[in-house]
């Protein structure tokens, strides 16, 4: 039995490196699809503004995409480095899924990203379009495989246990396990919404500064439209994920997420300060009767929300991160929905690009999607503890027999390097944003077929960069 220090250190290392990694796919999957929209619009209409959008967002996409790749490599190795016994136990089931991710997604992305980023002028427009689509497809496939593997750890199916190792018996059941079928659309919507706010916020920033106005309007318009269309669907899918996956399969997780230790509370906790060692909440702020309504759809408001004291302490997930991960996700989703609703009203009243208070709100919403997505992952991963494979494999049985010193050393180095890179990434984006999009080409198109469109010069002042 490994020491609790080693287990906690290994957990922290995985959690922090995974959260860092998650930041980049949360944006780049959606941005890849945004690039497809921009370039497809350009190919269809020949309007140079779409080419300008495509080139600007391609630059923002490129650096984050690279960071996502390299930070993802770290995670694949950590499974064996820190969690050797887990890797040994689940390898036959989850290994092939990640192999498929490498074969179908990583090679696809890597094969076409070069053409997407540097291919203009060397390949035809059709090839650029195909390459852009392939990068986006790779990003979506990667999301699918990762969600499948992670969901199997939440709701394992289609396997048998042989000598402490999981052996697959039915690949369809392994891949399309119950949690996957809701969590995959939930995650795809989450990354799309994340990048929609990111894109819209940069448009709002330019509108506030009165720079690159046509570019900014187009950018913000597409971003807000995507957010308004996707958020209602996301609220529905998110609710179904909670009901059909968490409530149905992982009672400890939903109980910890609701933040009650004792049975009998019919209210819905808005905020709690848990003290898990004493098995009680030091502070609890609840909306009366709302718990019954939200959790059980009981509109009389009389069904009490179950408390954690019905589970042995050894099987309880940590309440702090599970509860607050859940609440930040919910509050984030509601706020984004409200803002998207305001945006629709503004658009109808034709004030979308002019109301400064609204533009400021959109600017501040820039990281909202990413924060909400990471909070959701905190809920799903810490809420599954103490299990790695729910109900089957404990984290404490999974850890490699390393010395704590090794793990501390690697974790400190990862943190220092990651923090520095995160800072540099933000500075790089700020620099690109301040510089703004390159001026529109005087002749719209390199290919003679559409070259007759005539000069369209950017009305924006030179940025001075």
């Amino acid at each position: 039995m490994a020491s609790t220090t080693l287990i906690d250190l290994s957990r922290w290392q995985f959690a922090t490196t995974a959260a860092f990694h998650m930041t980049f796919p949360a944006l780049s999957v959606g941005l890849a699809i945004f690039l497809v929209i921009c370039y497809a619009s350009y190919c269809a209409t020949g309007k140079p503004i779409y080419l300008q959008l495509f080139r600007f967002w391609r630059k923002i996409f490129a650096v984050g995409f690279a960071l996502g790749i390299v930070a993802g490599i770290v995670l694949t190795f950590e499974l064996g480095l820190n969690w050797g016994n887990y890797a040994q136990a689940v390898g036959p089931v989850l290994g092939p899924i990640i192999c498929l991710e490498a074969l179908t997604a990583f090679f696809l992305e890597a094969g076409f990203i070069g053409i997407l980023l540097y291919g203009e002028g060397r390949v035809s427009r059709t090839v650029t379009m195909v390459a852009t689509c392939m990068v986006a497809l790779g990003a979506l496939l990667s999301t699918a495989w990762i969600l499948s593997a992670n969901s199997w750890m939440q709701t394992p199916t289609g396997y048998q246990e042989v000598g402490g190792q999981f052996q697959p018996t039915d690949w369809v059941k392994v891949i399309f396990n119950p949690a996957f079928n809701w969590r995959f659309p939930h995650m795809v919507l989450a990354v799309l919404v994340s990048s929609a706010w990111f894109v819209a916020a940069i448009g709002a920033y330019y509108l506030l500064k009165h720079r690159f106005v046509p570019f900014a309007k187009k950018t913000m318009s597409i971003g807000l439209l995507a957010a308004a269309l996707l958020l209602p669907i996301q609220l529905y899918v998110g609710g179904s994920t909670a009901a059909d996956v968490t409530v149905a399969y992982q009672p400890e997780k939903i109980t910890a997420a609701e933040g009650n230790f004792a049975n009998g509370n019919t209210g819905w906790n808005v905020a709690v300060v848990p003290d898990q060692s004493q098995q009680r909440d030091l502070f609890q702020l609840a909306i009366p009767h709302a718990g019954s309504v939200f959790v059980f759809h009981n509109f009389s408001g009389t069904t009490p929300v179950p408390g954690l004291d019905s589970f042995p302490t050894a099987n309880q997930p940590p309440v702090w991160p599970t509860f607050w991960g859940f609440k930040i996700m919910i509050f984030g989703a509601w706020s984004m929905f409200a803002l998207a609703f305001i945006a629709v009203v503004m658009r109808i009243r034709r004030r979308l690009y002019t109301e400064r208070w609204f533009l400021r709100l959109v600017l501040w919403a820039m990281p909202a999607g990413v924060i909400t997505t990471i909070a959701g992952w905190v809920l799903s991963e810490t809420g599954r503890q103490p299990w790695l494979v729910y109900g089957k494999l404990l984290a404490s049985d999974s850890v490699s027999s390393l010395s704590s010193g090794e793990v501390i050393a690697s974790m400190v180095v990862f943190w220092v390097v990651y923090l520095a890179m995160f800072g540099a990434w933000i500075r790089q984006i700020a620099k690109e944003v301040r510089k703004g999009p390159d001026a529109l080409p005087p002749v719209a198109d390199p290919e003679p077929a559409v070259a007759g469109l005539g000069p369209v010069v950017s009305p924006a002042a030179p940025s001075g960069a």
Partner: protein
């Protein structure tokens, strides 16, 4: 089936060493270069291939995890520190490539970080290789050794230096094909010098291996000594070709010869060690996953492998040209 899947994993390893080897090597070479223009040209050769080349590393790791989970679960904790060093180096190196590409010229900070990351990653991979070859202590199917075992009484340091030189050699050979004029001439003399250096460092690596390792090295039976002899012949021939054909058209020949030498080296090691996978105690057959997993993997690779290789080749073909500055012909830039 375990043998077949192991061949796939070994091919991924070979592809990784050949492909990422040259782009890490180019990074190492930029450390020695003082001319920003030349370093920029070298960086741009790396710019659009490095992420594809590193995909092979993921396939290698995940292929090993899926097909031989016991090997993955024991080798990785056994080689913890050099693996973490390699990962950290690959992370900031990949980021530094993009940051340098997004800046004019060869940015002093990010450019040097790119070189340094390449050097650390290459050296760490040498440590890993040496550490694995010298043996990992496994008891009851789990890693049970110490933190510094990977050093193998210093053998790891020797293989670390060997891999740095090997990659730099591959990088110089690749640059012969990608650069032109006086820059190509510099790479020709560099390739020749590095050929001798690689030979010089390979000999002690090979000579000390029987002393450094806890594994049973075997050359009995025609199934072992014949491929081993082939490997030696190919390696000697490849060294000669790199040395003699450098600087002559067609300029991609030296790099192919480097790849042949790397293939021969890997073949020789596999022949000596087979069937030990994490020497001395974890073998290919003891580590293999069940037939349901292996069958699935083999069917998948048979379908997806050819497609993957096809568009990988297409992507290299698009950028096959000798280096020129990035064209964005339609841009009327205010940058």
């Amino acid at each position: 089936m375990p043998f077949f899947w192991m061949s796939v994993v070994m091919l991924a390893l070979l592809a990784y060493v050949i492909l990422d080897g040259y782009d890490l090597g180019i990074g190492v070479l930029t450390l020695a270069g003082r001319d920003p223009d030349r370093n920029r040209a070298m960086l741009e050769v790396v710019g659009n291939v490095w992420d594809g080349n590193e995909s092979w590393l993921i396939l290698l790791a995940m292929g090993l995890w899926a097909g031989m989970p016991d090997a993955y679960a024991t080798a990785l904790p056994g080689l913890y520190l050099p693996l973490c060093a390699m990962l950290v180096a690959l992370v900031f190196r990949g980021f530094a490539v993009e940051m340098t590409l997004h800046r004019p010229g060869f940015d002093r900070f990010w450019g040097r970080l790119f070189g340094l990351g390449s050097l650390i990653a290459a050296f760490a991979q040498g440590l890993l290789f040496g550490g694995l070859l010298s043996g990992v202590t496994v008891v009851g199917g789990r890693f049970a050794g110490g933190t510094w075992d990977f050093l193998g009484h210093g053998y790891g340091v020797l293989t670390g230096c060997a891999v740095v030189l090997l990659y730099a050699w591959a990088g110089a050979a690749q640059l012969q094909a990608k650069l032109s004029g006086a820059e190509r001439q510099r790479m020709v003399s560099l390739t020749r010098g590095l050929t001798l250096a690689v030979v010089a460092v390979s000999l002690p690596c090979a000579g000390l291996l029987p002393v450094a390792t806890s594994a049973h090295l075997r050359l009995d039976g025609v199934g072992r000594w014949l491929p081993f002899a082939y490997a030696l012949v190919i390696a000697v021939g490849a060294f000669a070709i790199v040395y003699r054909r450098s600087g002559r058209a067609p300029h991609h020949v030296p790099f192919f010869a480097v790849a042949a030498a790397e293939t021969a080296g890997l073949l020789a090691v596999v022949v000596l060690y087979y069937p030990q996978l994490v020497p001395p105690s974890v073998t290919l057959y003891s580590a293999a996953a069940g037939p349901a997993t292996l069958k699935f993997l083999i069917v998948m690779i048979a379908i997806l492998g050819p497609v993957t290789v096809a568009y990988g080749i297409y992507s290299h073909w698009v950028f096959r040209a000798v280096h020129r500055s990035t064209p964005e012909p339609e841009l009327e830039g205010n940058h």
